[in-house]
Amino acid sequence: MRQKIIMCISILFLITLSGVAQDISFNFPAGIGDWEKSGEAFEYVGDDLFEYINGGAELYHEYGFETVSVQDYSFGEELISVEVYKMKESAFGIFSMLRSAEDQEVDAGDGATIAGYYLMMWRGKHLFAITSQSGESGNENILISFAQQLSENLESGDIPELVKHIPENPVDENSIIYCKGSIALVNISEKAAEFLTGWEEAVVFKSINAEEDLFVICKYKSASAATENLNKIQPRKSSINLKQAGPYLVASIEGSDIDFITKSLETATE
């Protein structure tokens, strides 16, 4: 009897040593088309994102990062990695930050773009980065298939309210970037980040009519907070054209007309 107990304990110990897979919060399919899982998935939670991408984690935390789950898939010698970032709120923000305006839009999730060897997609609170590890283009259709299959059972989400306040015309929709903090804004425009501070959320975009300029709408806690910041900026704002509309400050970094934006805001917030 004693020997049987020792044997059972030894077997359990060996099973433990063989490597129990980490609990992964995202349910990766066993395969996608001809591609099969390669290796074990892994995950980083909260502050531990720093262990995965070092200082790059700061940007994701600004957007409300919760977890990232990663799984590789292989077909022959080729490898595609799937990173699924779960955010506290809509993943549109971090998606808008990571995509580029010239990337090709594709039909997947709530929004997706492809740039040669990688695809970015958001679906509800999830951001997907699907990457061909060769670093070369040529697998675009496969990346799109991955995106469509991975997102099909996930709950859809909505874009932030502030983004809805942007006038449709003449804005370049692909240029819209939603910001939750200064790290995002400084990556877009150092000048904007230097002058526009103290806001709770912001959205940056370009206009088809003023391609060299950058437009920013910052939402403050209150109209008085917006006024306070406006008064701080006014004496030294150089080329920036700046107006207040309630709790919002609207700016064009190179001085273009911004009435079309303030009117849209006033209409939207009536």
């Binding site: 200082g55 790059g56 940007l59 980065a129 590890q133 670093g135 150092e190």
Partner: protein, 303 residues
């Protein structure tokens, strides 16, 4: 091959007899014959690396027989545009080997499961050099460095291994970085302090403070004896690990001045080095030269 209008002064070769005056940290008369920055441009990373170092006087100017050599590289990121290039790294190691050092080590605190996610770890193993892992949790391997001159960072831990070798060489990848705007020679110094301090001390404030902290850190640590910057293929968005847009400047740039090399590379991101940031801060703290007009820079196209 063609040469830029800045050519190194070969006349100083006649001063070779004064090489015994080459005290570490002091530019000797023989140093004057070499350019301050040597850039090789072409599709072949190995050829570029060989040429960039040869223009500086060859590896034997920096590594003597019997010496110990430590190398610091960018392990970060799975795609080639994010980490130190395999070919650049391998070429540097092969050149060092030709100088017959006693030991060559790659030093890093990055854990094995992270390092194995890209091809660079395989390159380290293939090169047959020692990999010296410095576990972050082993306090005995780290020492506190006081930085009284630091404007924000006043102290930080660095691994003791940094000061063990005769020669210290870094091979940074110049690329985009979401928090520091870019990562190059100066930013790579964060590979010498543990992750906990990088998070808790350097990244603790806003991104501008991070850049000052990078300068503070560089002002306190051992200056590399040789820096070989990998700008063959690089991430220009979504750094430090991507995925993101990439660019192929096809350059390998060698020198000894961290500030000058970063300044030289900055046009990739259309950043003015005189704007507030890590390069200006490091220059103001005496870490190197920001005015490239004062330097002898050689750029060569390699077929």
């Amino acid at each position: 091959m063609k040469f830029s209008r800045r050519k190194f002064n070969i006349g100083a070769l006649s001063l070779g007899s004064l090489s015994f005056l080459n005290i570490k940290g002091v530019k000797s008369a023989t140093d004057e014959q070499y350019p301050d920055i040597s850039a090789a441009v072409g599709p072949n990373a190995t050829k570029n690396t060989e040429h960039a170092i040869s223009q500086l006087g060859g590896i034997k100017r920096f590594v003597k027989e019997g010496q110990t050599v430590d190398i610091l590289i960018n392990f970060m990121g799975r795609i080639a545009a994010a980490h130190t290039g395999v070919d650049v790294f391998s070429s540097v190691v092969e050149q060092i080997k030709a100088a017959s050092p006693a030991k060559i080590r790659v030093i890093s605190w990055i854990e094995e499961n992270r390092r194995s996610r890209n091809k660079l770890q395989q390159a380290v193993e293939k090169a047959g050099v020692e990999f010296h892992h410095v576990p972050q949790e082993d306090e005995s391997l780290w020492e506190w460095k006081e930085i009284p001159q630091g404007k924000i960072l006043k102290k930080v831990r660095i691994f003791k291994a940094l000061n063990e070798s005769d020669v210290f060489i870094t091979i940074p990848k110049f690329k985009h970085h979401g928090s520091a705007r870019y990562s190059g020679c100066l930013k790579l110094a964060m590979g010498i302090s543990p992750r906990a301090d990088n998070r808790g001390l350097l990244h603790a404030n806003n991104s501008r403070d991070l850049e000052q902290c990078i300068a503070d850190l560089n002002s306190a640590i051992r200056k590399p004896d040789l820096i070989v910057v990998d700008m063959m293929e690089t991430l220009i968005t979504n750094g430090p690990s991507g995925p993101g847009k990439t660019s192929s400047p096809n350059k390998v740039i060698a020198g000894t001045d961290r500030v000058a090399l970063d300044t030289y590379c900055l046009p990739l991101f259309k950043i003015n080095p005189l704007d507030k940031g890590q390069v200006l801060a490091a220059h103001e703290m005496g870490c190197g030269e920001i005015d490239l007009n004062k330097l002898n820079i050689v750029e060569t196209e390699i077929a």
